[in-house]
Symmetry: C2
Subunit: 220 residues, 2 copies
DNA sequence: AGCCCTGTGTAACTTAAGTTACAGACTCCC
DNA sequence: GGGAGTCTGTAACTTAAGTTACACAGGGCT
């Protein structure tokens, strides 16, 4: 059972919920369970069964794939107001997870049962909300496939840096895990960016100095 | 307007349709248009607007990404009974296409208008049908990302050959386009498979001789 | 201060993949 | 049969990416 305060947060973050049949929703929420996760907690792993649908009140979840040699590659990130399509997909198809999920920051989720989730899908607005997330993810994934298959690492790294804003607080290893490569490659490329005056480097800190040059790189 | 015969075919291939409200469906089908495509026809390309939803009566559609240097990479294949999630996604999000689609064989499609498609989604069974396709595609795409990012080409080629059955009639270029690589790599790898006695080679023809060895390769 | 741990720098090397540049083989068609 | 066009084979080379193996720096802790 979730608290009054959490319920308010939920409606604030997921405005679509206020358009869903009140009766259905109240029932579903009465069975929903709030979960608090510390940063770094693994929420699900490949091949685990999946039995609840998470709404995200705060924090974020990184969904990623792992390779046998310990490399990682981020598929997407789920933040508040957003929903996890892996989970939705697993629930609907009754399949096990096919990726890993990790709370990167301290996070609060509201877990809804699979049955209640399916019932809510009967509501047109909610269904459209979930459908639009699905299709957004699908195009993101298609984009990702293309990048991984056809783009060089320097370009992909430049894009990643640009997405992260002017000041970035990440270790080289974290950047590598985002792109599916190894730490040394990132160090090497960052060094070359730094030598070219595009960025300034510090411990777990990158400052973008020449945004337009990075953009050129990622567009070329 | 589609013919009686096509309508029958449609119901045969998409049993879910017979569970949809008859009234809605009749309306929708009365506005649907049959399209015949010759093998090799490009149906849609990246960034084109998308304005109808295809049901596939016969043939197949290969959905793929193109790189700037002319390489290609298949994302998935749509055959009769199946549906194209790129299109569905585009329609729902009103986005342009983000991949290319090509009829590999002579194909017959029934195109339904975007509006009618949305209306049909109101039907629970139809919605569940589309949802399950979406989630199937999402997990396939996630799998693909992983393969492209982490697996060596020999392994990916072995998997591809196994999926295509004992006798394969494809040129090296077609195999390359499937995997997102170049013809020479395929020729080289096939030669090494052939030298190892795993396959027999001919012009546009591959015969699998040692299936279990290929399986070992794709599992290792 | 001394120590440990994590993060970074970097050089030398290996490997996978892609590129270039052909030659030859097979097919189809005139 | 001859020629054009497509498909395959292959060798030499380049490049991107990954691996190995360290050295060192900074921050926190005792």
């Amino acid at each position: 059972m979730i608290s009054e305060k959490q319920s308010e947060e939920l409606f604030g973050l997921y405005p679509v919920l206020s358009k869903v049949d009140r009766e259905l929703l109240t029932q579903a929420l009465s069975r929903a369970i709030p979960v608090t996760l510390k940063a770094g907690t693994v929420i699900f792993e490949e091949l685990q069964p999946c039995n609840a649908f998470p709404f995200i009140l705060s924090g974020n979840i990184r969904v990623y794939k792992q390779s046998v040699n310990g490399r990682e590659l981020s598929l997407y990130n789920v933040t508040s107001g957003d929903a996890c399509v892996v989970t939705a997909g697993c629930l609907l198809g009754d399949d096990p997870y096919n990726a890993c999920g990790l709370a990167e920051k301290d996070s609060v989720l509201v877990m809804m049962t699979a049955d209640d989730f399916e019932t809510l899908l009967g509501s047109r607005v909610f269904r459209e909300f979930i459908f639009s997330l699905f299709s957004k993810r699908i195009s993101e994934l298609m984009q990702l496939v293309e990048e991984v298959a056809f783009q060089k690492l320097d370009k992909r790294l430049a894009s990643l840096l640009l997405r992260r804003g002017r000041y970035i607080r990440m270790s080289h290893q974290e950047l590598a895990d985002e792109l599916g490569t190894v730490r040394e490659m990132i160090t090497r490329l960052l060094k070359s960016f730094s030598d070219a005056g595009l960025i300034a480097l510090g411990r777990e800190r990158i400052e973008i100095l020449d945004e337009s040059a990075l953009k050129d790189m990622h567009e070329s």
